[in-house]
């Protein structure tokens, strides 16, 4: 297995701004790295440059410390699973999986052994003689993965492999791919637009937007310490709530909403916000950091509001309200179903507040 290193990798098409702009990061041996972002963010282009299917406009790409910018895909020792599976329709499942090995003139018995092993791992032994047309979406997905496995490549590349599956199957395949990663001890680069997939599968996640890398970190750090408002909003479901306002300091450090309807005292732990006094900021709070009961164990900020919608989910309740036209969702753990239209008290966890510079979108950190 192997590592992959990107140094200032840039892709641009004529007359347009770069599709990928100076992407630099490293994928360690046996690591599962997910590239995530909305469509058009450059994640697939980055993956395709690693694969060698796109030319690299500038920057350097290393696989195992070998510069591979000008190495053709077949000589990079990588395998790729495509979004639409890209199974050869005229070949059986077995032939599909064996094709790459045959082209590499691997010994016949060896091919058979590898294909059977992979088929067993993936549970597709009984379909080996079928053509892709006769398979379900999930089975095709497995074959596509199998085709990559038999090659025993240094690096696996996955390009949105689950996006053509229905929701239930997607969850199932997600765990299977994770298991496979552990079992094969493989280096994997995985592209998805689905943040849940990214969070559940990745050792580390690269968040991209408009060709630029926003943040690279492990899932929990990404969740807890987003570097900017985009990452904060993109990671997590339901998404983080955002409320625009200002930091004021009239004796006490306060966050005041734009129209002044809410003013909250910022305690000692948030004193670093002094540097943002007078600035317009965006406050962010995750839905689960809003409580419906007061507890003494932590510092809370009371928020009086009226509920617009109440969605009981069983184990938890989603309530929807708004503060000065900013919608706010809270995820409450309670058995008392609140009533729509009634005044209601919500409590924000002060130590879970995020603050972003409204102008740059960057997180204001201590």
């Amino acid at each position: 297995m192997a590592s992959v290193k990107l140094e200032n990798i840039t892709k641009f098409y004529e007359g347009k701004k770069p599709a990928v702009d100076k992407a630099s990061f490293e994928i360690n041996d046996k690591e599962f790295v997910v590239l995530v972002g909305p469509s058009g963010c450059g994640k697939s282009t980055t993956l395709r440059m690693i694969a060698g299917l796109e030319e690299i406009s500038s920057g350097e790409l290393y696989i195992d410390d070998r510069l591979v910018n000008d190495v053709s895909p077949k000589d990079r020792d990588i395998a790729m699973v495509f979004q639409n599976y890209a199974l050869y329709p005229h070949m059986t499942v077995y032939e599909n999986m064996a094709f790459g090995l045959k082209l590499r003139k691997v010994d016949k018995n060896e091919i058979k052994k590898r294909v059977m092993d992979a088929a067993e791992i993936l549970g597709i032994v009984e379909y080996l003689e079928r053509k892709p047309k006769a398979l379900s979406g999930g089975q095709r997905q497995r074959v596509a993965v199998g085709r990559a496995i038999v090659r025993q490549p240094k690096v696996f590349l996955f390009d949105e492999p689950l996006s053509n599956l229905d929701a239930k199957l997607r969850v199932q395949m997600r765990t299977e791919i994770s298991k496979l990663h552990k079992r094969l001890q493989a280096t994997i680069v995985y592209v998805t637009h689905d943040q849940t997939e990214a969070m559940t599968m990745g050792d580390r996640i690269v968040v991209m937007k408009d060709g630029l890398i926003q943040q690279i970190d492990n899932p929990l750090n990404l969740y807890n310490f987003p570097t900017n408002i985009f990452v904060a909003g993109f990671i997590g479901s339901p998404a983080m709530n955002f409320i625009d306002g200002k930091i004021t300091d009239s004796g006490r450090l306060q966050f005041v909403t734009m129209n002044g309807t809410v003013a909250m005292n910022l305690g000692e732990s948030l004193s670093f916000l002094k540097k943002a006094v007078g600035k317009e900021v965006t406050l962010g709070i995750r839905p689960e950091d809003i409580l419906c009961k007061h507890t003494d164990s932590e510092t809370l900020q009371l928020l009086q509001c009226t509920l617009d919608v109440v969605e009981p989910m069983g184990n938890e309740i989603f309530v929807y309200t708004s503060i000065e036209s900013h919608p706010v969702i809270a995820r409450l753990i309670t058995q008392d179903l609140p009533k729509v239209g009634m005044p209601y008290n919500l409590y924000l966890r002060l130590n879970k507040l995020h603050f972003f510079d409204k102008e740059t979108g960057n997180a204001i950190k201590s």
Binding site: P73, K74, H90
Partner: protein, 273 residues
């Protein structure tokens, strides 16, 4: 008009046209089995008094039809296979490869299709003559190796092959040739069959070009031989009919066996309009 009457009228018209379409063939086949002179009587006969194979035997023995048949077969099959390979490589390249000036080259090919083939016949003849290829199979094979229409047809079809399939093959370690041979060609099978029938029939039925480049009678293709025979045997109606039957049979067989592909090809060809 009642529905029933309409139905009868439509079927009747269709049947009359079918009768007119078929009649010449029916007469041709029957006349080819008549004894000499039997087709030249008034009123004309349709069914021979006695079915005889005399004319077929004459054709294959005294008139060397076997040689012409072989010429036609070699040329038609040869042109079909060579041109399928060359056109499919080219059509695939135009559909899936990225290179500078692709659009311009392709468009200039397409617009060249308005130039009638007759324009080039004399210079091509002179070229082939200088190369010493007149009265050889090459005189028909070489100019027939590539066709703009064929390239167009393949290109249109190859466009529908997903890029990811080619990329997958590339990741699997395929060279350009391997990708073409093991992935593209099998996937293009339907259009290759279609183009193959078109080419085969077109070459088999072609008359003017073989007439020009095959001046030695041993190199004649069937249509040229038939036309030549017509000069000497105008009065031998039955013999000429037998010759026509033999000339037509291979194309009819190919057509009947693969008509689905042929019809589809006509539609594909008409999309470009």
């Amino acid at each position: 008009m009642s529905e029933r009457l309409k139905k009868i009228l439509v079927l009747l018209t269709a049947s009359i046209i079918a009768f007119m379409s078929l009649m010449p063939f029916v007469w041709m086949v029957f006349a080819s089995f008549m004894k000499s002179g039997e087709a030249n009587v008034y009123p004309p006969k349709l069914i021979p008094d006695e079915f005889v194979l005399t004319h077929y035997i004459t054709l294959f023995t005294r008139l060397n039809l076997t040689g012409y048949l072989i010429n036609s077969l070699v040329i038609s099959v040869g042109v079909t296979f060579i041109s399928l390979i060359i056109n499919s490589m080219s059509g695939y390249a135009f559909a899936k490869m990225a290179f500078k000036g692709k659009k311009q080259i392709f468009n200039s090919l397409l617009s060249a299709m308005v130039i009638p083939g007759q324009v080039t016949m004399l210079p091509v003849f002179l070229m082939l003559k200088n190369m010493g290829l007149i009265n050889t199979y090459w005189a028909i094979l070489i100019p027939g190796m590539a066709s703009i229409f064929g390239i167009f047809l393949i290109k249109q079809y190859a466009l529908s092959i997903p890029d990811s399939l080619i990329e997958a093959a590339r990741m699997d370690g395929g060279t350009e040739i391997q990708i073409y041979w093991k992935v593209i060609l099998p996937l293009c099978k339907p259009i290759l069959v279609t183009l193959g029938i078109f080419t085969f029939m077109g070459t088999w039925n072609d008359f003017l070009w073989p007439l020009i480049v095959m001046t030695d009678s041993s190199m004649y293709t069937l249509p040229v031989a038939l036309a030549n025979l017509m000069g000497e045997h105008t009065q031998d109606t039955e013999l000429m009919m037998a010759g026509s039957v033999i000339t037509i049979i291979p194309v009819i067989v190919v057509f009947l066996a693969l008509q689905k592909y042929y019809i589809k090809g006509i539609m594909l060809g008409s999309v470009k309009g």
